[in-house]
């Protein structure tokens, strides 16, 4: 647990407790999607796609 994870976790918990129109808008902000690659000798070797669409609240790890 780092500070960043803790701060993100608290924000997710808050978003989970919102009323409907605000909730869907906020949930959209929660999604994390990025693709990262490890480069070696100028070539990308491993591509990792990180896709967290529901946020981290409720999940205890």
């Amino acid at each position: 647990m780092t500070y960043n994870k803790y701060a993100g976790l608290c924000a997710d918990m808050l978003r989970a407790a919102l009323k409907e129109p605000a909730k869907t808008k906020a949930k959209a902000r929660e999604a994390i999607y990025y693709r990262s690659a490890v480069w070696e000798n100028g070539q990308p070797t491993k591509q990792v796609i990180t896709d967290i669409t529901e946020g981290t609240s409720g999940k205890l790890s």
Binding site: A7, C10, L14, A17
Partner: protein
């Protein structure tokens, strides 16, 4: 024996009211007039010697700090990653929930950096008359010397957007998780459950449930 000597010196110092504070020293400073008088008397004995220095020549003049004018409204910036809720707004008072306790910021507040805990930020556009409350999940507040206040939160919502049923359910859920994890479960799960209890308790009290 030395202790007696020290006591004797202190008593003598008291009698002569010698103090070492710079303020008192400034008062005891030789004035320009008395310096000139001394130098003129010294001239008779000077010969090839240099003029004597006075201690006040080596003391930097104390800068008289004019009371930096305190603005009558606070310049308030309130940011979350996705929006600027307040940008350069002029407000009277902002109440902030810091990890060290709640405090209010008015113009002239001492420069501070405060870590915020999950809680309510109250923005008084006009003291006690026009108040907007937001629940923040955490973040930081920076109060600068010129009374500009920056509050950076990870997530901030108006209190009206919070669902009371979800808060009650969440509080019960995380309290249960925390109780069942006591002593076992790894550190991350325990920390997450504690964070859940903290956030939902704060939401609970913010809504007055």
């Amino acid at each position: 024996m030395l202790r007696h000597a020290a006591r004797g010196v202190c008593r003598a110092a008291g009698l002569r009211s010698v103090s070492s504070s710079t303020a008192a020293f400034q008062e005891l400073n030789a004035s320009e007039q008395s310096k000139k008088e001394f130098l003129s008397k010294f001239a008779a004995f000077q010969g090839t010697m240099n003029e004597p220095e006075f201690p006040s020549n080596f003391v930097k003049p104390v800068e008289k700090v004019e009371n930096a004018s305190v603005p009558d409204k606070l310049k308030f910036n309130f940011y979350i990653p996705s929006a600027a809720i307040n940008q350069g707004s002029s407000v009277d008072l902002v109440l902030l929930p810091a990890t060290t306790g709640d405090f209010g910021v008015m113009p002239g507040h001492v420069p501070t950096v405060a870590e915020l805990r999950p809680g309510v930020v109250s923005v008084h556009n006009e003291l006690d008359k026009d108040v907007t409350k937001y629940f923040v999940s955490g973040g930081f507040a920076f109060i600068h010397a010129d009374s500009t206040t920056d509050v950076c939160a990870v997530e901030a919502v108006p209190l009206s957007d919070i669902d009371s049923d979800a808060v009650r359910a969440g509080l019960a859920e995380y309290t249960g998780k925390l109780a069942s994890l006591q002593g076992k479960g790894d550190d991350y799960e325990l920390a997450a459950a504690q964070a859940g209890v903290e956030v939902y308790s704060a939401l609970n009290s913010a809504l007055g449930l």
